[in-house]
């Protein structure tokens, strides 16, 4: 058991006997009221998002999790197929609640997966990842406004806004949390 005030983003907790990942948490003191922590929780099994607010002094059941390095094999439309790089065991993670992962993970790459008693709970992507731009239109001539952007498609299918000087075949660094362009990568 831990105090609700000690809960952090990315932590796994047990609520109503179900594991949940804390996707957001903030402290609030309404009026001159007591200290509360407001949380957004996601069930890795169903994708259901729960809102919960507790007093920071309330108790919460935390769970012990393990991280495994796993290779991403492919997406079958419903689930992501992985292989544990240590045991060579193959398993799937339902895409529900992790829909955006199909546009962020690269086949063959290794990612950290959080496990709780053999159940995969969360896929951890690096905060920033380099992707190749596979589709980009040439900038329109004369379009020289500072900060002008255009939409491009990355090797994983993710579409995002980048500065107009980015060309097809170039590599860009992307923030996987906000899915926003960070900078051009010179190779």
């Amino acid at each position: 058991m831990i105090k609700a005030g000690a809960v952090e983003k990315g932590m796994a907790i047990l609520m109503k006997d179900q594991p949940f990942i804390v996707v957001d948490r903030e402290f609030v003191n309404p009026g001159k009221g007591s200290n509360f922590v407001r949380m957004k929780l996601k069930s890795p099994q169903t994708g259901q998002v729960l809102r919960e607010t507790m007093k920071t002094q309330d108790s919460i059941e935390d769970i012990t999790v393990e991280d495994h390095d796993c290779q991403y094999l492919f997406f079958d439309g419903d689930a992501y197929h992985f292989m544990d790089t240590e045991t060579y065991e193959q398993f799937t993670v339902p895409s529900k609640g992790f829909e955006d992962m199909q546009y962020l993970m690269k086949e063959g790459e290794t990612y950290r997966i959080m496990f709780w008693e053999h159940t995969p709970l969360d896929i951890n992507l690096p905060y920033k990842v380099v992707y190749e731009v596979t589709e980009a239109e040439d900038a329109v001539k004369g379009d020289t406004v500072t900060g002008a952007t255009k939409l491009v498609t990355l090797e994983t299918g993710l579409r995002l806004k980048v500065p107009i000087f980015i060309k097809q075949g170039e590599k860009v660094l992307v923030n996987t949390e906000t899915k926003e362009y960070v900078e051009r990568v010179n190779t």
């Binding site: 609520m15 309404p30 001159k32 009221g33 509360f36 809102r51 919960e52 607010t53 507790m54 920071t56």
Partner: protein, 332 residues
């Protein structure tokens, strides 16, 4: 090296303070500056003060507290006949988490108007927001405000009918239906706590962020020094949300000596219970405060507004550390 962002912050803070003062000066309010160190505090159950000591050379040490708000001193001035007053000063609250919306030391604007109620103050607050339009880079202040009752907001965003959830068992049932977990702490659970859990989970996040939002008529079960709204389960109180963030709190001030006395004694009991269970020292409490109201007191309305959060809204800053010079989050 002096950063450009810091220069911009100095400028915007200075401009805001100037604008706030000129608004109240032009309306005939007197600016006051009351002490930041107080020998005793208004009993407020959920506030933990910063405490210190005056080291008297001969007569021993004397406990002193950094004020959590200038309320007590300002109300003393009002009862002495000061007329309408305002103050911009520092307030200190211990044990609040340092985060995106809290710095333990913060700047408060507090103003009191005689012969006025909370709805008069609501009008003044709207005029103040309009007056700040030249500093508003986000265009939020100048939009027409949404004004709704807490009952309407709970109904709209959580389907919770507060009028029908007046008892602790009724509101707990509603909270569980909404998906909240039953309380787990050992403390006796209060109606206020369950209300806050519902409000913070489902209502507050849905409040409009693109324009000012006033929530008025707060449940009487939340103890505070606002007057009861006659014939209703509400108190004459509003809160202002700007950019979805709680910014100001206003009451038709309670002036009935018995009601003030009851608030102080029940809060004092709650503080004693809390400090006892935590094994901490109970701060000195100002139990003389209710006496201010023993002689007839004119009707009055007071509003407290967080200046740092106001600057966050005006500049579109998401973290309170970004609008404070030397925020505590830099060193913690």
């Amino acid at each position: 090296m002096f950063r450009e962002t810091q220069r911009a912050l100095i400028k915007s803070r200075s401009a805001l303070l100037k604008q706030l003062r000129s608004f109240f000066d032009a309306r005939g309010y007197l600016e006051v500056d009351t002490p930041l160190l107080a020998p005793a505090l208004l009993p407020e159950a959920h506030i933990t003060p910063f405490s210190t000591q005056f080291l008297h050379p001969f007569a021993g040490n004397y406990p002193l507290y950094l004020i959590p708000s200038p309320e007590v001193y300002m109300k003393r001035l009002l009862s002495h006949g000061s007329g309408d007053i305002y103050q911009i000063n520092r307030c200190f609250r211990n044990e609040e988490q340092v985060g995106r919306e809290h710095n333990p030391e913060f700047t408060m604007l507090e103003w009191y108007t005689l012969d006025a109620d909370y709805l008069d103050s609501l009008k003044t607050a709207q005029e103040l927001l309009a007056y700040l339009a030249p500093l508003d880079t986000q265009g939020i202040c100048s939009r027409p405000a949404e004004v709704m009752t807490v009952q309407e907001a709970c109904m709209k965003h959580a389907g919770l009918d507060l009028e029908k959830a007046q008892s602790i068992s009724e509101i707990t049932e509603q909270a569980v239906l909404l998906g909240l977990t039953p309380p787990t702490s050992n403390d006796a659970v209060t109606w206020e706590e369950i209300f806050n859990r519902v409000f913070l989970s489902f209502v507050e996040p849905e409040l409009p962020k693109d324009r000012p939002c006033f929530l008025k008529d707060y449940p009487s079960q939340i103890p505070c020094l606002a007057k009861e709204k006659p014939g209703t389960p509400w108190k004459e109180r509003w809160e202002l949300y700007l950019g979805g963030r709680e910014l100001a709190n206003c009451y038709s001030e309670e002036t009935d000596p018995d009601a003030v006395y009851n608030f102080c004694s029940s809060s004092a009991r709650a503080i004693a219970k809390k400090t006892q269970s935590q094994g901490t020292e109970t701060p000195e409490l100002d139990l003389q405060f209710p006496k201010l109201y023993e002689s007839p007191h004119p009707p009055c309305s007071g509003t407290a507004l967080g200046v740092d959060r106001l600057l966050m809204a005006l500049t579109g800053t998401q973290d309170i550390g970004g609008v404070i010079l030397f925020p505590l989050s830099d060193i913690l």
